[in-house]
């Protein structure tokens, strides 16, 4: 399949249309939703760039943490992690658990809301 324009280029073009052409002509509720839509497209652009690498790292960490089979899909790994925390098998004192959750949440927030104050705090305490 062709990739010109790429997914990112297409999203960028739509975002420019919303920001430069559509938004200035809107008022009230519609203007608010256009701003939200533009923010969503910015999230998609960050996601296209960051998710593949972040998920590969997350998966490696989960396989090590859970001692799971390398072929286990990411969703199943996370469900297993939830199960072990819920059963009390893993908790705040488990080596590497909170570190893993922190790294994963930092990666998630870097896509979702990179300007959120809690992200800066988490990065600071990481040093």
């Amino acid at each position: 399949m062709h990739d010109a324009p790429s997914t990112a280029e297409l999203v960028e073009a739509v975002k420019r249309f919303i920001d430069d052409t559509a938004s200035p002509q809107l008022t009230g509720h519609a203007a608010f939703h256009a701003r939200v839509a533009s923010n969503v497209l910015a999230t998609i652009l960050r996601e296209l760039e960051q998710r593949p690498g972040a998920e590969a790292d997350e998966k490696d960490r989960l396989i090590a943490l859970l001692g799971a089979d390398v072929d286990t899909p990411l969703d199943a790994l996370n469900r297993e992690l939830c199960k072990r925390i819920r059963s009390g098998n893993m908790d705040l004192s488990t080596d590497g658990l909170l570190d893993h959750l922190k790294t994963t949440t930092i990666a998630q927030l870097s896509v979702d809301q990179p300007r959120y104050s809690g992200l800066a705090l988490a990065l600071q305490s990481r040093g």
């Binding site: 608010f32 939703h33 939200v36 839509a37 923010n39 969503v40 999230t43 996370n78 469900r79 992690l81 939830c82 925390i85 819920r86 009390g88 908790d91 705040l92 004192s93 658990l97 909170l98 959750l101 922190k102 994963t104 949440t105 930092i106 998630q108 927030l109 896509v111 979702d112 809301q113 959120y116 104050s117 809690g118 992200l119 800066a120 705090l121 988490a122 305490s125």
Partner: protein, 355 residues
């Protein structure tokens, strides 16, 4: 933002009675009330709808009498009809009652001027003074105008909360009762029903269960005491608004909710609402007659607050996922759940380091 959460937390039941209250009908009804209360020359003007959701309408207007202008607010059930509610929100008559009790306890609240139980034009409604000030968190935290207010606000919030928590329960009509464990169980079951597993939430839920503090004697809890629901003027706290989520519960819930990072609007370094120090609030709270607490006493409830707000965001996203509200805004809020996850991670790290 919480108003969005609240409106979704309760299912919306369309009123089956024909809606009352065109602007003109409301104006006429208010004028009749004003004439009886302030004299026959009273006029009602400037009626304007300020906001409205499924749960309540807010209108601004003024009464002029003999060249004297009195700005007021009308709070009213949508269409004048109190919708059936399945969840914790209290009714308008109850809200008016609580405002009256809070005023007696020295809490800054708008004086209630009139209550309408079943007015032919207004339906369920009440009228209160319109206090001037700012409610937008970002403005209160940023604008030069509020620099003095920011310095004294934590202490004033401590005093106001001590006042709310001192209201004798035996004088109040029946209110929902909800302590920490009840809330944890409630929000856990909402989260589980979505079947969207989030390991950070699991760890927070487990830690909260393991470390639940002994409950304090129950008090009247405001239930949504945070920036956004506090009217602030350049002189400080002008009014405590939005009593819809009031209930009987643990006093630490109110103090901690004001500390939840979601309501610090970017000013994460100031634990109280992005403007103040928790020790200042707690000292003022104790000086005003509340029990003396330490910042550590608030930790459990702050974590509970972040978890609660995270699950409320999931609920708003659920409205999109279920097709009930297909707007881009409801979709996007699903990507704010991770804000509460990082707050929970930071809080969990804090309690681990203290352990």
């Amino acid at each position: 933002m919480l108003s969005q959460g609240k409106s979704l937390a309760r299912p919306f039941f369309p009123a089956i009675v024909a809606k009352m209250g065109s602007n003109e009908q409301i104006s006429t009804a208010l004028e009749g009330w004003a004439e009886a209360k302030y004299g026959t020359g009273s006029k009602v003007g400037g009626l304007k709808r300020l906001s409205g959701g499924a749960s309540q309408e807010t209108w601004a207007f003024q009464v002029s009498e003999n060249g004297h202008e009195m700005p007021m607010i009308l709070r009213r059930a949508p269409g004048g009809v109190e919708a059936a509610r399945s969840s914790q929100a209290i009714g308008l008559a109850m809200e008016a009652t609580l405002l009256t009790h809070a005023a007696k306890a020295g809490v800054p609240v708008p004086p209630v001027l009139g209550v309408f139980e079943d007015d032919p034009q207004l339906g369920q409604a009440f009228v209160m003074d319109r206090i001037s000030g700012e409610t937008l968190g970002r403005k209160i935290l940023r604008d030069e105008e509020y620099s003095y207010a920011r310095k004294i606000l934590a202490r004033q919030c401590g005093q106001a909360l001590a006042g709310i928590h001192s209201i004798p329960l035996e004088n109040l009509p029946e209110l929902p009762v909800s302590d920490g464990i009840t809330q944890l169980e409630k929000y856990e079951s909402i989260y589980r029903a979505y079947d969207l597993p989030r390991p950070v939430f699991e760890l927070a839920i487990s830690w909260l269960k393991e470390n639940a503090p002994t409950a304090l004697p129950v008090v009247l809890v405001h239930g949504d005491f945070r920036l956004g629901n506090l009217m602030v003027s350049e002189k400080g706290l002008a009014s405590v608004l939005d009593w819809e989520l009031a209930h009987i519960g643990d006093p630490r819930e109110d103090i901690a909710w004001l500390c939840v990072n979601s309501w610090r609007f970017g000013h994460a370094d100031k634990r109280v609402g992005g403007f103040g120090d928790l020790t200042d609030l707690l000292d003022a709270y104790a000086a005003a007659g509340g029990p003396q607490m330490t910042p550590r006493d608030i930790d459990w409830w702050e974590m509970m607050g972040s978890l609660k707000w995270g699950i409320m965001c999931m609920t708003m996203y659920e409205a999109f996922r279920s097709g009930a509200d297909p707007s881009v805004e409801r979709a996007a809020i699903g990507r704010r759940v991770s804000e509460t996850e990082i707050d929970l991670v930071n809080l969990l790290e804090g309690v681990r380091n203290h352990a």
